[in-house]
Amino acid sequence: MNFKKLVKSGLVLGLAASMVACSSEPGQTAGNAGGGTDTDAIIIGAIGPYEGDTSVYGIAVKNGIDLAITEFNEAGNSLLGKTVKLVAYDSKGDNTEATNAYNKLVDSDKATAIVGAVLSGESTAIGTASQGVGTPILSPSATALAFTETGPNVFRGCFTDPYQAKMMGEFAFDTLGAKTAAVIYDTGADYSEGLMENFKTAFEGKGGQVVDVEGYSTGDTDFNTQLTKIKESNVDVLYIPNYYKDIALITKQARALGIEAQFIGGDGWDGVLSVSDDPTVLEGSVFVNHYSPDDPEIIAWAEAYKAKYGVDATAFAYLGYDCAKLMLQAIEEAGSTDPQAIVDALNNISFDGVLGHLEFDDNGDPIKDLAFITIKDGKYTSYQK
């Protein structure tokens, strides 16, 4: 081998080594993650977007799970004679990253169960990836119907998109007294499109009229064109089924154009006050959420949460906390770390958490209540007629 070849092969090797080094650390979050297996602890895996547009959701869920596990360990409890440890990986909201994180949790961290992922798309991706091993997966927040259809080991702790949209459609007609509605949704997001369709069906089923449905592309910031058309239709309510970032811009532009319709929406609204520069445009809006902010148990929990993490608790934090506790209870009841035993325990579980009572139906979807929240004086409050 001459010198040039030697240098070349050295370069290739170096490159390969650096790639391996990169891929072995897919955004592990500091503090609560440890490499390799830990035979003294039961590993609970978490996956979610801890960076990027949707990181508000991912971090809240992770904090919730972390709080549940910290409390469990600090109370001196043991699960099957061991302590519990959380290993969390960042998905960056990306389906491929989420699948990589799942594989790493199962293969190298030997996670017993996974509380995650956070967004509907990435959760469905890990649900599909889990079909070989059958690791129990409980997502605190994946609302898309398709998620629990990926397999018998896949559960969710929140209500589904069709269910919340149906409830909102009926509520808008019955309680808010709306006769006409318009919808503005993101044509590139399954979540948004699913809510739009189910809301329309429910609202029209009650006898209301959906006068105008306007779409926009993911990442748009200018909605004036669509809103100008909606203004023309002069509707009672404007249904905005999306995530908080778009909502902040849409509501502001709608009020600036002089649209007087009441804004209503889904659980993606939670957190909207944190990015709004002008909360008065949101005043009187109603959205569906997973809990009522006035419940004393909720308030006490929220204070403990804020003391530990320095931010206000959102629905995602409660869901993360409850789902982690639920998973621990299921492992305890299963009496082993065998995936099938835990799945059986989840199917028969009767759980009481901070968000109330929860059981699973045959699809792995929860049977639980939902809450209607309104924004009053720049704060989230329970809706009262």
């Binding site: 960076e51 990027g52 547009d53 990181s55 508000v56 044509t187 306007e214 779409g215 926009y216 592309s217 990442g219 910031t221 200018d222 004036n224 064109t225 669509q226 100008t228 058309k229 023309e232 970032k245 902040a248 811009l249 502001k252 600036a256 154009l257 002089g258 990015v275 709004s276 520069d277 002008d278």
Partner: protein
């Protein structure tokens, strides 16, 4: 078709079009003189918006003060980028400059993502003027201000390049760098001034854009930059009134497509227009008279 509705959609189009025009002015300015497509221009817009955010929300500075600060920071950043990244490559092949520009763009995006995370930040309300009422229409202050600012800046820039001594130096550098140098023009200084003006324009565009759409994130400049680049090319890159014309055309096409055809088709139609313009007028709509180039 409802006439008042159509009129409102035209105004919507002019609003977003004015922003494209402002950004396109910066692109065109730099391209006209340095013959470089400065792909980092979109990121300078983002830096301009973040500067206002840092000054007002984090440091509690009054808004009127934060605007000049942001313009100065961006002008300085423009000069720095030129000195550090483009000047050493001035005699290299164009393709290296283009790739360096893309590199600078990624660098700024990642840097701001590291400092501010990618969570969107809420931008302070800057414009607090009453809306303009024309009969039954009411046009918000953001709209008419953006429009007026972009038209005024276009006229000022055009006059500046055509009538002042510095402007004449810029045109000379644009035409023939070697000859300009022999005539005693300081090329380095002229190019620095070009970058400073282009980046100051980006700061203004960023502030106006963020007042209309008050959520800022480190990636806000990339789409805006691409749209404005198309506007500059459609109007004739290197030609100052062309940038503004291109911006308005682009904004109106977007708005009318969303209103009357389909919101998913918007980008497809915008790019189709670009292709048609380039096929029939490769130098852009106003790109006929080459002597007009700045």
């Amino acid at each position: 078709m409802n006439i008042s509705q159509f009129f409102l959609q035209l105004i919507n189009g002019l609003n977003i079009g004015s922003i494209y025009a402002l950004v396109a002015l910066g692109y065109t300015m730099v391209y006209g003189i340095a013959k470089l497509i400065n792909f980092a221009h979109g990121e300078i817009i983002m830096v301009g918006s973040y500067t206002v955010f840092v000054c007002t929300t984090l440091m509690g500075m009054p808004i009127w003060l934060s605007i000049p600060v942001s313009i100065i920071v961006c002008a300085g950043l423009g000069i720095c980028i030129e000195k550090v990244a483009y000047k050493p490559l001035r005699n290299a092949s164009r393709i290296y400059l283009l790739i360096t520009a893309i590199g600078i763009s990624f660098f700024l995006q990642s840097l701001f993502q590291l400092i501010f995370t990618s969570n969107p930040k809420s931008f302070p309300t800057i414009i607090q003027l009453p809306p303009l009422t024309l009969g039954s229409f009411s046009i918000s202050a953001n709209y008419y201000l953006t429009f007026v600012v972009s038209v005024i800046l276009m006229i000022v820039l055009d006059r500046f390049v055509k009538l002042t001594k510095t402007g004449r130096a810029m045109r000379a550098v644009s035409e023939d760098q070697g000859a300009a140098q022999l005539m005693g023009i300081n090329i380095n200084k002229t190019i620095s001034i070009t970058f400073a003006i282009g980046s100051a324009l980006a700061a203004v565009a960023g502030i106006l854009y963020s007042s209309s759409y008050p959520l800022i994130n480190p990636f806000m400049g990339s789409t805006l930059g691409i749209k404005a680049f198309i506007a500059a090319v459609v109007g004739g890159i290197g030609i100052i009134p062309g940038a503004v014309l291109g911006g308005f055309i682009l904004g109106i096409i977007e708005s009318l497509t969303k209103a009357y055809i389909s919101s998913q088709m918007t980008d497809a139609i915008v790019f189709l227009v670009l292709i048609v313009v380039l096929v029939f007028k490769p130098a852009g709509l106003l790109g006929k008279n080459r002597k007009e180039k700045v």
